[in-house]
Amino acid sequence: MAEKLKLIDRVQAINWNRLEDDKDLEVWDRLTGNFWLPEKVPLSNDIQSWATLTDVEKQMTTRVFTGLTLLDTIQGTVGAVSLIPDALTPHEEAVYTNIAFMESVHARSYSSIFSTLISTREIDEAFRWSEENPALQKKAEIVLNYYRGDDPLKRKVASTMLESFLFYSGFYAPMYWSSRAKLTNTADLIRLIIRDEAVHGYYIGYKFQKGLEKLSAAQRQELKDYTFELLFELYDNEVEYTQDLYDPLGLTEDVKKFLRYNANKALMNLGYEALFPRDETDVNPAILSALSPNADENHDFFSGSGSSYVIGKAVNTEDEDWDF
């Protein structure tokens, strides 16, 4: 930490009653409404399930979580904080402080999983592996370089890539276990993290697009080219990392679909069209349904026979705004 920390030059008292961008309050409310702590999740109910995993399965899972811990640590202590000096509004600054804190909660959560399920020796060994794994270290280095760099919009691109793409080689594992009715409480905790990352990626990507509006067409094109180059660089590295983690279990190809599916979503959060075609992003339905139980419900009246469609099932709306 030799470099000098960049801080904003001037602070004004934040007035939430005078918004420059309504999105700031909307996202702040969403993030604070979604607040959670790992203590709320009964992780110890997974101890028996953990005991049913083979050594290779345990090793993969532990390594996945140390990798996720590293990313969340970066995002909490460097990434989200590095966005603050570039904020366009004081409310945007406040949202980043919320994001930074939640990333630290995420990083802390993995340690809760570790201490519940795994011996100290295994934990230490997995952390050592994560420090020595070239693909994981390279991933961290690429992102950190952009955070240290002097281009605010490139920082946002890197940050959105991290939130919306780089976590997912790791998130696959708990979804995989959940689809096999294993480590289900751990999966519940990871789903809370996944939900948070969606709001983070959406918001940072949105602020990136706001920044683009101020640029010339040529500058916008340059950033677009840069974004896709970075995506390819990160994707190639993710493939290596995925092989290191999942080859022993024969899951690599399945994970790669999940990677590409999420890479598309990262691009969309930045306002760009999806890159990978449908047949390369057809995520295993068991994984998709572990992520979102109603993702595979048939809301595709437009294709197939189309002879029947769902009239909405009863949903608890709870909103008081409805007049009917």
């Binding site: 961008d21 009246f301 949903v315």
Partner: protein, 137 residues
């Protein structure tokens, strides 16, 4: 003429999807200061789901206000919802809520701004859907 009505926040994700459909569309205004949208023809509603959690508010309040108007509500024929699978069981739940409230079919769900395939499917199904609607609608 049958038509499409949509809501999109300043993130413009849903607007991008609607633009790609290349179907004539009316936008529900974002701010109370803008004129209220009164529709006169049957329409399909395209809405984003506001993200996840237990806090309610999945349907944007501007859309609720639009549907609270009885004349507007009487003309809705179906709903298409956007969302993000990261929100788990709340994925695209705005579509479920509106379909249940208005008793109309939930036609399609897509993520964020939709992929090329999403656009193709909706475009291909659009004409068929309206043909099947009663001519007096």
């Amino acid at each position: 003429m049958s038509s499409l009505v949509y809501f999109s926040s300043v993130s413009e994700n849903t607007r991008r999807f609607v633009d790609k459909l290349d179907i004539e569309a009316d936008r529900i205004p974002l701010r109370p200061s803008e004129p209220f949208l009164n529709v006169t023809d049957p329409y399909v509603l395209v809405v984003p789901t506001y993200g996840g959690g237990n806090e309610g508010g999945a349907v944007p309040r501007q859309v609720v206000k639009f549907l609270n108007d009885e004349a507007n509500r009487s003309r809705i024929r179906g709903v298409i919802a956007a969302g993000n699978t990261n929100f788990g069981s709340a994925y695209c739940i705005a579509g479920d809520i509106i379909a249940a409230k208005c008793q109309v079919p939930y036609l399609y769900a897509f993520e964020l701004m939709g992929t090329t395939e999403d656009v193709q499917r909706v475009r291909e199904g659009w004409g068929r859907f309206w043909q099947r609607q009663s001519p007096t609608a």
